[in-house]
Symmetry: C2
Subunit: 123 residues, 2 copies
């Protein structure tokens, strides 16, 4: 059984999570039979190991993991492999397919460019 985890940074301000919740809900609406959950690096819960191990206990065998980050810095390049190792210790049979961060998607960049130009009143 498959599932999708959207991995985001997290913040102290609860308003911060809104776009990530909208992303999760959009995906759930489009794929009602796919389990889709958020996971956070810090400040918010669940953590990535928490949700992944809980999914494994629920019978999930394959997780697609997408970092909902624009830039791939230390959080994606350094912190994430450590979290994956932690999950592997606790749920060794679970397969996790880590995908490039959303900022690597050309169509996401194009949508951001559209937004920026729409907000810029060109003289």
């Amino acid at each position: 059984m498959k599932a999708l985890i959207l991995f985001a940074h997290g913040a102290r301000d609860t308003r911060w999570a809104a776009p990530f919740e909208r992303l999760r809900d959009t995906i759930r609406n489009r794929q009602p039979h796919l389990r889709v959950e958020l996971a956070f690096l810090e400040f918010m819960s669940p953590s990535l190991p928490q949700i992944a191990v809980s999914m494994a206990a629920d019978g999930i065998t394959d997780i697609t993991l997408i970092p909902v980050f624009l830039g791939q810095g230390g959080h994606v390049l350094r912190d994430l492999p450590l979290l994956l190792e932690e999950i592997h210790q606790q749920a060794p049979a679970l397969r996790i397919a880590l995908q490039p961060a959303v900022g690597e998607s050309e169509s996401v960049v194009a949508a951001m460019a559209d937004y920026c130009l729409a907000k810029t009143a060109i003289a």
Copy 2:
């Protein structure tokens, strides 16, 4: 004269900036006569005050400022107003139109959802 500043977080890892540079270059290609620059909160340069004051010195009178953040947490809600005040002290005539962060855009969220679903092999 108008200009667009894309305000991003910044990171120690230089690879982090790639999606933001792609966004800037996409916008430049679409609007070759619009001055478009990146600015960073930390770790990378220029800072927002540096680029805004430099634009004012170049004759820019109106800046559209877009936070290239998915979540609006402390950086957008607390740090950014302080930077705007700092700019106002140095370039009081400069008009800056702060727009909602890119993560507030429905079409950006839709593009991220498309990307996530394309990367999720549904059984």
